[in-house]
């Protein structure tokens, strides 16, 4: 009848005892599990992250000659953003125009123009912006944020805007 402790004695016939083998194989097993489930987690993350590339395109807005200094047109991009385009100069270049996003840089609500206060106002958290898009009050002013400007260009007397083309559902 062998002593119970004999069962746990190292068997060093081939250079590696049982304990070391059990330890090494456990480590390999744990490593395999982590690698396996880690890969699964990565795949799940990529699956959820759904990265559709943002497609941009130049789009026609208005004839430059028909907009006088101070005039404003509203442009809706295919992706659903409203852009307020105002003529501010008479040089005949793209620099005459300012294309301001109506999406508040704070938390993404839509700002609207308040003529009586000469400002854009965001009803969500009381953000306010001057006609050039610079924040003057509320959380966007505290963070020094401005309304996003869209790139504009003039070709053959026509004003174009560069904006995302992806559609909202």
């Amino acid at each position: 009848m062998p002593d119970a402790s004999d069962l746990h004695q190292p068997q060093s016939s081939d250079g590696m005892d049982r304990r070391a083998f059990a330890k090494a194989s456990s480590l390999v097993m744990a490593g395999g599990l982590i690698a396996g489930y880690g890969t699964m987690a990565y795949i799940a993350g990529r699956f959820l992250y759904s990265s559709t590339p943002r497609k941009l395109a130049w789009m026609f807005v208005a004839e430059a000659a028909k907009l006088h200094v101070g005039d404003t047109v509203e442009f809706r991009t295919p992706a659903g953003q409203t852009v307020t385009i105002t003529r501010r100069g008479q040089e005949g270049t793209a620099a005459d125009f300012l294309g301001l996003s109506s999406t508040c840089p704070h938390l993404g609500c839509q700002v609207h123009w308040e003529a009586q206060n000469n400002r854009f106002f965001c009803p969500c958290h009381n953000g306010a912006f001057d006609p050039a898009g610079k924040a003057t009050a509320g959380p966007p002013a505290a963070a020094g944020q401005s309304l996003q400007q869209y790139p504009l260009k003039i070709e053959n007397g026509l004003v174009f805007i560069e904006a995302p083309t992806e559609l909202l559902g």
């Binding site: 759904s50 993404g108 839509q110 009803p123 969500c124």
Partner: protein, 349 residues
């Protein structure tokens, strides 16, 4: 024993008296006070939410083009649809209210103190889950409030340093609210969060059973000989009465104040006056007071302090003379929360 009883006993090998002993925990006398049932109330309402939620999910279609119409169909066409939806909405409101009251009761009676710190933290997770379930719930209706609430919520997530942008993308399924967004909110609302809450609730209740309910004594109870009464049948009857009262209350609220339907979501126009549900008035006002990142970081810090409060509290009573500071801090916190909520409710902007 009949043949069937023998057959059954062989397949389910548990004796009646063992089962009774397992479930029949002695309940401390103070649980006869109604405000100690506040923990069981949200649990009961949670079951109501699961049942009514499954019923609503039968008709709900989570896509921007169909969501609003499907909710309208439930509300106006399906027999008793208005009732099921109203019960779901009112049970949610009461659930959030009772979770907050339960937490306040635990806080002010010091029920989170050693050795129950971990259960307080599990309770905090449950509170956050309840709030997020509420948020994702009203986002599903695809009203104006749903749309702008979801947009604001996702952008709050984006303000979290380092992981924020990824979090927002995972939540919305894109840079901004799009056709992939609603299914994500639906899965969170109807599967991920409820399952998480069932697991957390199980551990929450298991820990209560392992520790036993905190024993408290009130002056009026001092003369009573027995400090405990039986769970079965005494406390069970209390719970059944509570369940009946809640069902009557929910039916009455759903009938007298049925849930309506706001204007359909319009991604081009944020309404002139926009408010979240009442339980987010505090955070909404907070967001108006500070810049995005500052508001998000300070809110995160406050939630963190709430999580580890049992340890802060024990450090305060260990190293300072103010052993009962938690009561005063709690009173200030309650006044601040109520004050910010009333402020937000009272003004348009």
């Amino acid at each position: 024993m009949t043949q069937f009883a023998r057959w059954f006993r062989e397949r389910v090998p548990i004796q009646g008296h063992v089962l009774r002993e397992m479930t029949n925990e002695p309940v401390p006398n103070h649980l006869k006070h109604w405000w100690f049932c506040l923990g069981g109330t949200p649990a009961y309402l949670f079951v109501v939410q699961i049942v009514t939620g499954i019923l609503l999910a039968v008709y709900y279609e989570p896509s921007p083009s169909t969501a609003y119409e499907s909710v309208r169909y439930v509300t106006e066409q399906v027999p008793f649809g208005w009732f099921i939806r109203s019960v779901h909405k009112w049970a949610a409101t009461l659930m959030i209210a009772t979770v907050i009251l339960h937490q306040m009761r635990v806080y002010f009676t010091g029920g989170y103190r050693r050795p129950r710190e971990l259960n307080w933290m599990i309770g905090m997770f449950l509170l956050l889950c309840t709030l997020v379930v509420g948020f994702t719930g009203y986002s599903l209706v695809y009203e104006q409030l749903s749309y702008w609430g979801a947009t604001v919520g996702a952008n709050i997530a984006a303000n979290v340093p380092v992981v924020g942008a990824i979090g927002k993308r995972l939540l919305l399924g894109g840079e901004a609210y799009n056709e992939k967004t609603l299914p994500r909110f639906f899965i969170l609302h109807a599967a991920v969060l409820p399952v998480t809450m069932i697991l957390l609730l199980s551990v929450h209740i298991l820990l209560i059973r392992l520790h036993g309910v905190t024993e408290l004594q009130f002056k009026a109870d001092r003369d009573e000989k027995s400090k405990f009464f039986n769970f079965f049948p005494d406390h069970l009857y209390t719970e059944i009465i509570m369940g009946l009262v809640l069902m009557i209350l929910l039916s009455a609220l759903a009938t007298i104040l049925p849930v309506g339907l706001g204007p359909r979501a319009d991604p081009l126009t944020t309404p002139e006056v926009i408010k979240p549900e009442w339980f987010f008035y505090v955070t909404f006002r907070w967001l108006k007071l500070f810049s995005g990142t500052a508001a998000v970081l300070s809110m995160g810090f406050i939630v963190f302090v709430m999580f580890v409060w049992p340890f802060i509290d024990s450090a305060i009573s260990k190293y300072t003379r103010f052993a009962e500071a938690s009561v005063w801090i709690g009173i200030v916190a309650v006044f601040a929360i109520v004050g910010l909520t009333i402020w937000e409710a009272a003004v348009e902007h």
